[in-house]
């Protein structure tokens, strides 16, 4: 194995080009078919609030582009979108909105199709990278992991920026491999462009593109050449300027807020051993513990340059975890980027085993292929179960119906699913979010105190100021927040309720409040 300009040789059945094409096509077809399962299921299976947030933004852009739409609806859609916090640039949402316009309707599965395509193209790019750095058989092992890991299946269909970010990171890596090998301007521009776009789509991409490309570059060219080459500065410039325009010029302050909200309050976790254990536990559940350990071991078997690139990617992931210690455990999509990293890391060890097995006779090779088919088949079936089991087709109708049953003469605050975005998206009703019990857990984790067993009147009154109604559809939150149950049922009348919801009137308490309203 080597990492020079000459393609590494491959053994076994992959010596023949048509076999490579055939197997690649079969794997892509399998990965694609799996992801199209239950395509029209509403996107509530994975981080519903985050996906519906994107859906609300896309609807706003779509309605803005429709000249004949009811202006009230357009205004309402815009108001909903404006109520959402600005995170990444809404490029994906704009693309989806444009597609709504082209196909003439707001179909949420459009976003799924895009994410799937991003992931599938990402798979092909990954295949290309590993093929150049390791071998064809290694590339197939990486691709198999990338396409058939159940976690990757469910999370590569999401209406969130992650699949696009991962595609752009992989494109940046692939372009950098070509640039570093060929040293021409075209590849340098593409490297900078893809790296910049990846960071633009989601700023955390910076943790992956820079360490990986820099390690690969330094080991290939040596420090002196790197710093004396003008192309290096072009790549650096492009990859920095593109995201900087958005994050520092168009949307200044967002990164500072993010740091203050999600990084600084949780840094103390880094000193706790339980943080690392919980992190590893989380990863084991997502990426398969055996394959995760194998991937880490596999780094050591990669060819020198590929090892440095993979090492850079792993280092980036660790830095990401250190930057957002609470989110890396609680928000599993933060770990999605580890899928291609682990996939690359598995390549060389997998290839070595494959080559050793191809030196056995046909019978034992057949045994190996049976093992491969069982492994992929089981992964595909597990993934399929994950995609079909949560059934949300009834949800839109529920929220639409609920919206019609709610009094329309005042503001709402409440505890409904996905930070009230289901009611907002499907029911066209804005409800201010009241903190969930797990939000309070996060507050406690950040070093502040909150005791749900206390009265918490001041907290409640602060949060519900200027609100007319309090709606609860997550009834189990009452058990997690007993003070809230005591306050609402003890002091406020129920104005409307159903099997899955209850609405309290905050303006007409049935008993005198023990504290004065601020």
């Amino acid at each position: 194995m080597n990492s020079g300009t000459q393609l590494p040789a491959s053994g076994g059945i992959f010596r023949k080009g048509w076999v490579v094409v055939l197997v690649l096509a079969a794997m892509c077809a399998g990965g694609l078919a799996l992801r199209f399962t239950n395509l029209t299921n509403p996107p509530l299976d994975v981080h519903g609030w985050r996906q519906l947030r994107s859906a609300i933004l896309a609807r706003d852009y779509y309605y803005q582009s429709l000249p004949d739409i009811d202006p009230i609806l357009r205004q309402q859609a815009h108001a909903f979108a404006s109520s959402l916090q600005v995170l990444e640039p809404p490029i994906f949402e704009r693309l989806v909105a444009l597609t709504y316009t082209v196909i003439g309707g707001e179909k949420l599965w459009v976003a799924r199709v895009y994410s799937i395509l991003f992931w599938m193209v990402g798979g092909l790019v990954l295949f290309f990278i590993v093929r150049r750095l390791v071998s064809v058989s290694g590339a197939f092992i990486s691709l198999a992991y990338f396409l058939f890991l159940p976690f990757a299946n469910t999370h590569s269909r999401i209406f969130m920026p992650e699949p696009l970010m991962i595609l752009l990171i992989l494109l940046a890596l692939a372009a950098s491999v070509m640039w570093i090998e060929q040293r021409n301007w075209l590849w340098a521009i593409l490297t900078g462009l893809f790296a910049g776009l990846a960071i633009l789509i989601k700023v955390f991409a910076v943790y992956f593109v820079f360490p990986a490309i820099c390690s690969y570059l330094l080991v290939s060219w040596g420090g002196r050449k790197v710093f004396h080459n003008r192309q290096t500065y072009l790549v650096l410039g492009l990859s920095a300027v593109i995201p900087a325009i958005y994050y520092f010029v168009l949307n200044p302050g967002s990164s500072g807020n993010y740091l203050q909200t999600w990084t600084l309050p949780y840094l103390h976790l880094l000193l706790q051993p339980t943080f690392y254990i919980a992190w590893v536990h989380r990863l084991g559940g997502l990426l398969n513990p055996v394959l995760l350990i194998t991937a880490i071991l596999g780094i050591t078997m990669l060819p020198n340059k590929a090892r440095l690139m993979a090492g850079g990617l792993w280092m980036g992931y660790v830095l990401l975890g250190f930057s957002v210690p609470s989110l890396i455990r609680s928000h599993i999509y933060y770990n999605l980027v580890l899928v291609p990293i682990a996939a690359i890391s598995l390549a060389a060890l997998g290839e070595r085993i494959y080559l050793l097995i191809t030196s056995q006779n046909k019978f034992w090779q057949a045994v190996f292929w049976v093992v491969v088919i069982i492994g992929l088949g089981d992964a595909a079936l597990v993934a399929r179960k994950d995609l079909t089991q949560p059934e949300y087709h009834g949800e839109p109708a529920f929220w639409q119906q609920l919206s019609t049953e709610l009094p329309a003469d005042g503001n709402y605050i409440g505890l409904t699913e996905d930070y009230n975005t289901r009611l907002m998206y499907y029911g066209w009703r804005y409800v201010s979010p009241y903190p969930y019990s797990f939000d309070q857990d996060m507050v406690i984790l950040a070093g502040k105190s909150f005791d749900v067993s206390q009265g918490n009147w001041k907290y409640f009154l602060d949060k519900t100021r200027n609100q007319r109604y309090f709606i609860v559809t997550m009834l189990d939150e009452f058990e997690s927040q007993p003070y809230l149950k005591t306050i609402l049922y003890g002091y406020y009348p129920v104005v409307v309720q159903g099997e899955r919801f209850v609405v309290f009137d905050l303006m007409n308490p049935v008993n005198p409040l023990p504290v004065s309203i601020p």
């Binding site: 254990i277 050591t300 085993i353 050793l356 034992w364 069982i374 089981d378």
Partner: protein, 510 residues
């Protein structure tokens, strides 16, 4: 021996000792917690038998509830010959108490003992590094830690199976009479302890023998027949006695063979899911690849025979293999042995002079972390629930119904195992879903009442310990709560008094 070699040996031996200490340490954690963490019905079956034997061994009126202990033990049908139970009872007698942790100590000891033949076997196909990884997997895999603490014959069966495999492999190299007898006897013991051991052993012996000697020589050799005789005579004798002389085994052979499951996809998926729960499917498949790399060694081939035996066993016990995780226990040594060649592959790569020192350190650190993480996971699992209050709860229940098994019918969790062991009750179980027409009958109030009365006729108490099960049967729940007073209630049980139904009101309501 040079000083350097001595120092290398010292390091390897220290590592083995360290792994053994860790394995023993984690297994001894929470030792005295009652055995409800792993398949309670199966463990209480053995516990009830052992206590019964102990009561029988002891002079009359020397231990509390002696007669009840004998009576409940007699109600347990033997599955395997109660060898472990007998051994535990003997230890109870010596210790003067029937502490359940004694059985746990035996199981732990047998599992750890099994590590010796495993290590001897793996050394024939692997370097020290691979062997160490294999041993660490066998001893520290979280599932193996939990399962090897259970009062079941399985840890002893696995231990004997490994000794038999080692003896057989040694016999193939030097086919003398001493090893013939040793291999035959250890195999015979393994199969006697739990008959399913015949599958991996037959596969292992058969494939190795034919591959090494050829079919003709194998069947012409007297030692082969002697070994075979030693291996199957004990279990044949036990089965002959159990099936045709005493008859207690007849029920055990019923409801075990379901070939119709073979044609359903669910069977295979559930089987794979069970493998995943126990040894990790990824590790299992990787181990098969490892074995493919080792087929040039006799052991590698033999282990494919073991695998074939396991697969055959899965098809024969199709229901159990797809639903009972501990039926996959024979896979643990197989996977441990199969992973060794792969560990060697990585170690050999690291041993190259070009390899950087820090990479070696990283790999060793990762190996250590994986071991420690496994231990930590098990510790959390064992610490999660404390069952030490359970005996008192069930003893109270037993006292409330005066230990009269004939007076009690009910809906029990764990097939009534806790009730049986701690309350000395062998009550009748409510038929529930076992009756094919149950749902239809219970859906109509009239038929439900008639059915309930016919089933409970002559019983004084309806005991519910399976609360979730009662919630799933609203018809039964309504009858009990509407018509019968609660005689006693605690968090873990409700006793309804069937002797004093609530008075019926004029409009027909209770």
């Amino acid at each position: 021996m040079t000083a350097r070699l001595k120092s290398i040996n010292f390091v390897w031996i220290s590592l083995i000792v360290l792994i053994y200490m860790a394995a023993a340490g984690i297994r001894l954690f929470d030792l005295t917690d009652p055995p409800l963490d792993f398949h309670p019905p199966r463990q209480f079956h053995s516990a009830t038998l052992a206590r019964g034997f102990y009561a029988q061994m002891s002079p009359p009126a020397t231990i509390p509830d002696q007669q009840l202990a004998v009576m409940t033990a007699k109600s347990e049908l033997w599955i395997e010959p109660p060898i472990l139970e007998g051994l535990v009872a003997l230890t109870y007698r010596i210790a003067g108490q029937d502490s359940l942790w004694i059985a746990r100590l035996y199981s732990i000891f047998f599992w750890l003992l099994g590590g010796i033949p495993l290590f001897k076997l793996v050394r024939t196909i692997s370097s020290r590094a691979g062997s160490l990884a294999s041993l660490a997997y066998y001893l520290l895999l979280p599932y193996s830690v939990i399962a090897s603490r259970s009062f079941q014959p399985d840890p002893l069966m696995i231990c004997c199976t490994l000794f038999a495999a080692w003896a057989f492999l040694s016999w193939l190299k030097e086919p003398g009479w001493r090893l013939t007898v040793l291999a035959g006897m250890t195999a015979g013991l393994a199969i006697l302890i739990k008959q399913v051991a015949i599958f991996p052993l037959a596969g292992f012996f058969g494939v190795l023998l034919v591959a090494q000697w050829g079919f003709k020589r194998s069947i012409r050799d007297v030692k082969t027949w002697v070994m075979l005789l030693l291996a199957i005579t004990p279990v044949l004798a036990y089965n002959l006695y159990g099936l045709w002389i005493d008859g207690f085994l007849k029920s055990q052979f019923a409801m075990r063979f379901f070939p119709e499951m073979w044609t359903t996809a669910g069977f295979y998926l559930n089987w794979l899911a069970q493998i995943n729960i126990t040894v990790s499917l990824a590790a299992f498949l990787a181990a098969i690849c490892g074995l493919v790399l080792a087929v040039c060694h006799p052991l590698g081939l033999g282990l494919f025979g073991w695998l074939a035996g396991y697969i055959l066993y899965g098809f024969i016990f199709s229901h159990h293999i797809a639903t009972h995780d501990y039926y996959q226990l024979p896979l643990i040594p197989l996977v441990a042995l199969g992973l060794a060649p792969l560990a060697d592959l990585i170690y050999n790569q690291m041993s190259s002079p070009l390899y950087q020192f820090r990479a070696k350190v990283a790999v060793i650190a990762l190996f250590s972390f994986a071991c420690l993480y496994g231990i930590y996971e098990v510790r959390n699992e064992l610490k999660k629930v404390d069952y030490r209050n359970e005996p008192v709860i069930w003893q109270t229940l037993g006292q409330r119904v005066d230990h009269k098994s004939t007076a009690v019918i009910g809906l029990f969790s764990d097939y009534g195992a806790r009730l049986n062991y701690w309350a000395f009750l062998v009550p009748k179980s409510w038929p529930g879903q076992d009756d094919p027409d149950y749902n239809t009958i219970m859906s109509q109030p009239d038929t439900a009442t008639t059915y309930f009365e016919s089933q409970t006729a002559g019983y004084s108490f309806f005991v519910v310990t399976d609360m979730a099960g009662l919630d799933r049967q609203p018809g039964l729940k309504d009858i009990l709560s509407d018509r019968y007073p609660v005689f006693a209630q605690e968090q873990s049980f409700i006793i309804f008094d069937l002797r004093n139904p609530l008075p019926v009101t004029v409009d027909g309501n209770q």
